[in-house]
């Protein structure tokens, strides 16, 4: 049998990144402030984790101007969705193995 630990991805080890991915896999584009409100964290904290996820191409970024104010929104990429599912499957498999 496969070792389920292989499915656990380091990118998702932080709670914040797990949270960001959880929001994005069930929504379409979500803007920075909504994300911040849902996860109840600070700007800086969220920004650094988002940058990491973006660098891994797990999420994509869209910048636009609404009434001259910039708004940045995020969406999960197909790769991100795949990796996140693998991560969840691995978590579940681990829990079933060691009840």
């Amino acid at each position: 049998m496969d070792n389920p630990i292989r499915g656990l991805h380091k990118q998702f080890e932080s709670r914040v990144r797990l949270g960001v991915m959880s929001v994005l896999v069930v929504n379409d584009w979500v803007d920075f402030n909504s994300l911040k409100d849902m996860l109840e964290i600070t700007d800086g904290n969220l920004a650094s984790h988002i940058k990491a996820l973006e660098a891994e191409q797990l999420i994509e970024v869209r910048k636009e101007f609404i009434k001259r104010k910039p708004r940045t929104s995020y969406r999960v990429t197909p790769l991100g969705r795949l990796k996140f599912r693998e991560h969840l499957d691995a978590l579940e498999a681990l829990l079933i193995q060691k009840p």
Binding site: R15, L18, G19, S22, V23, V25, V26, N27, V30, D31, S34, D37, M38, L39, L88, L91, E92, L94, L95, K98
Partner: protein
């Protein structure tokens, strides 16, 4: 085991965030109860108006007009409009209060999506009703408002507490029954908008709101 515990917490938190980011969960049961009470009051006003002015349907379901002080069509549009405004106001008030109490955001993309999915069928039914009232098909207004409201609730069910789908289906059933027994339209209306709302509101209140209130 420590890591097992961490994984378990991760999963339950993921589940919570997914739920919170797709559903507006601050809909208060109390607003259902109040909407029901306003609807019953509105129905009583309509019934009193019909009795007072000796209005009734002829065999073709056309309203026979007595000497009513306000034109019946205007009266029904005003009556239904006031009920709708009061019900919506109580929904906003109690849900806003609940959201603040649970420190959840009130105006969010989730609420926007809920409102869009609710309002498209609801506005369609509302405009259709006004057209029908204008064309003197008053008999079809009670069934159609119930049916369109039911469809709006089922449609909104993806974005808030799932119980609202059951309420929506019950409203559709009442609406279809009201189409069959049109002479009793006003009573089906009272049942659908009054009684069903109160039952639903109380059920929702006991299931979700009580827990929160005891925490303060």
């Amino acid at each position: 085991m420590n890591s097992t515990h961490k994984h378990f917490e991760d999963i339950s938190e993921i589940r919570q965030i997914m739920e919170r980011s797709t559903r507006f969960l601050s809909l208060s049961g109390l607003s259902g109860v109040f909407a029901g009470i306003f609807a019953l009051a509105g129905t009583l006003a309509a019934w009193g108006y019909l009795q007072e002015n000796g209005l009734y349907y002829d065999e073709n379901y056309l309203l026979v007009q007595g000497d009513a002080p306000i034109a019946p069509r205007l009266f029904f549009i005003l009556d239904a409009g006031i009920v709708l405004v009061l019900a919506l106001a109580s929904a906003v008030f109690f849900s806003y209060r609940k959201a603040k109490r649970e420190s959840l955001p009130f105006w969010s993309p989730v609420l926007k999506r809920l409102l869009f999915n609710l309002l498209v069928p609801l506005a369609t039914g509302g405009i259709l009703s006004i057209i029908l009232i204008w064309q003197n098909h008053l008999n079809l207004v009670a069934p159609l408002t119930l049916i369109f409201y039911g469809i709006a609730l089922v449609n909104a069910g993806k974005f808030t507490n799932r119980e609202i789908i059951a309420l929506g289906i019950a409203e559709i059933v009442f609406g279809l029954a009201a189409t069959v027994w049109q002479a009793y339209g006003i009573w089906f209306w009272a049942g659908g908008f009054g009684l069903l709302h109160i039952i639903y509101g109380i059920a929702l209140y006991y299931k979700y709101d009580c827990k929160v209130e005891t925490h303060g």
